[in-house]
């Protein structure tokens, strides 16, 4: 179906729509994971898929992440296009051999012989009160593995466009979903051919005074801060690196050249986070000469995510952290 129509839906429904469309278009696409069948997935993303596609294509697995990811790699290498749901991103730890040592490297270490078209859906992030083992943002680990692609949508439209592109990509793609975004509502294109190119950073909100690079729920907080700051005449430019690895740096560098100020932000622990890599690439680039103030890195505190609600929200960057950082960069405080 080709159409210019858009409809309002949640981030959750947009992911499901993207998967559904790709499964209708391509019989090689299968979907496996824990409780994705009758239960509909821990976060309801796969609801209804079993009814449409049957047990042959919607495969409820045992609680065996190593076997789930390993099976996906083996199936992908032999001609299928598996999509896996890892119930919480935290549990990818249990399937990392198959992903990191097998799937990510096969093509290169076999001299270009194979391709591994698979998608790992990874619900990430804090805010749900699920504490330290169900709230992590481990994207930086994955961004350290050549051979993997890492993408993360921040809106329903991006969710649909990126999940479709990830399924069509011939490499292992880690698709990071922020759990606090599942109920977020937005306009989503209904066109079956609507996809978002992997490897592109987008300007989410144009501005001129300060550049902010953020993704996930942190992006939403940056937008809130930008709305607030705009009332004071400060125009923040927000960039969204939809693909965290390999990252498209050009728009970020161009923006820093324009604004001279940079804030990078994410929920993941600050030390060793993706933000540090963005900063390093900016200072290695021609944008270095245009910086008018020290760069600001906003990241999660270097602690496991705590349970208590106040502690939990204090562990990750919030709207006011952006506001204060912008003031500081512009000497307004």
């Amino acid at each position: 179906m080709r159409t210019n129509d858009m409809t309002k839906m949640t981030y959750r429904d947009a992911i499901r729509l993207g998967i559904t469309e790709e499964m209708r278009l391509d019989r090689d696409v299968i979907f496996l994971g824990e409780d994705i069948g009758v239960y509909g997935g821990a976060f309801g993303v796969s609801k209804g898929l079993l009814e449409e596609f049957g047990e042959e294509r919607i495969l409820d697995t045992p609680i065996s992440e190593a076997a789930i990811v390993g099976t996906a790699v083996g199936a992908a290498t032999t001609g299928l296009r598996p999509v896996c749901e890892i119930m919480f991103m935290d549990f990818i730890t249990l399937g990392l051999d198959a992903l990191v040592n097998q799937g990510a490297k096969m093509r290169y270490m076999f001299g270009g012989q194979s391709q591994v078209p698979m998608v790992l859906r990874l619900p990430a992030g804090s805010g749900t009160g699920a504490a330290a083992q169900h709230s992590q943002s481990l994207e930086a680990w994955l961004c350290h593995v050549p051979g993997l692609k890492v993408v993360t949508p921040s809106t329903p439209a991006q969710a649909k466009g990126l999940i479709k592109a990830a399924i069509r990509d011939n490499n292992p793609v880690c698709f990071i979903e922020h759990k606090m975004l599942y109920d977020a509502v937005g306009l989503v294109p209904l066109d079956e051919e609507y996809t978002l190119e992997i490897g592109k950073t987008i300007v989410e909100r144009p501005g001129k005074d300060v550049t902010i690079v953020a993704y996930g729920t942190t992006l939403a907080k940056a937008v809130e801060a930008a709305d607030f700051l705009e009332e004071e005449g400060i125009r923040v430019e927000i960039l969204n690196p939809l693909t965290l690895y390999p990252m498209d740096m050009k728009p970020i560098i161009e923006s820093v050249i324009k604004t001279g100020c940079l804030i990078v932000a994410h929920e993941a622990a600050k030390t060793g986070g993706v933000g540090g890599e963005i900063v390093a690439r900016v200072v290695e680039s021609e944008a270095f000469d245009y910086l008018t103030a020290p760069i600001v890195r906003l990241g999660g505190l270097d602690v496991p995510i705590p349970f208590n609600q106040e502690l939990e929200s204090a562990a990750v960057p919030q709207r006011n952290d952006f506001v204060h950082s912008v003031y500081r960069l512009l000497n307004r405080e």
């Binding site: 076997a67 099976t71 790699v73 083996g74 299928l80 198959a98 093509r107 001299g111 011939n170 490499n171």
Partner: protein, 320 residues
Amino acid sequence: MIELSEELLLRMYYKMNQARYFEEKLDELDVKGLVHGTVHLALGQEAAGVMACLALEEGDLVSLSHRGHAQAIGFGLDVNLMMAECLGKDTGYCKGKGGSMHIADVENGNLGANGVVGGGFGLSCGAALTQKYQHTGKVVLCFAGDGATNTGSFHESLNLASIWKLPVVFFIENNQYGMSNPVENHMNVENISDRSEAYNMPGLTIDGNDFLDVYNTVTKALRYARAGKGPVLIEAKTYRFSGHSKSDKQLYRDEQEVKEWQKKDPLLKMKEYLRENRIFTEKQIQKMETEAMISIEQAVEFAKKSPSPQLDTILADVYA
């Protein structure tokens, strides 16, 4: 009993010898310092690796262990390209980017030797899922060693293969040691095949040094898996004459033990069989051995003459 044609017996004996010469030659090159990195030899395990693959049908797939040269030769890989890969040459199976531990021929169903012990179990389940989903009628033969059966991946994969009735045969070469650790120290079961009971699949322990036992058992197991009845676990008891890898001083075993197993050398056993049953003349046996040796010498020549990969290939093939 499965009927063995003369032609098949000839191929069996030839390939067993090729596997032996390949590794002896590789070891020699290694000692001379011509091999970058390490090699894991399966000297003494040739009947297991070669015969299990010879039982396969056209189009079946394999996942090899890190000790996979004999398996690869049994599967039909070109010894020239294998040797070139072991020497890191551009003409090798992986264009010099994989080496001995990652020899693969994906297009023809060899999903690769695996540097991670236990790394092939999940891959094999996935490859078997593809066969089942596409109704190809093909089976996956998954090689691993005794040590690999202690990994979580082994147990998760056997469980998954069993509940989904995947067409996969898990073939464990029990060479008595996980690197330096003897089997009785690293598992508390008499036979690795006993572990199949936990997953309600057939489990068989065989003499891995007996070419007929290996060939017949794997043939039957493949038939079972091909019929859609689900996976099979086979344990082939064998022994590696060489150390684990080049750094191994073999402090964990005595020479007497090695000598005892050398009496059960799978090549000698097969030769005895051929003689006893007067299948080939002494001259024919000799000829096969010589031809196998020549093929390996040619492989070494091919590998030595082959160019190294160009430096500008370093960034190629990270992504499809």
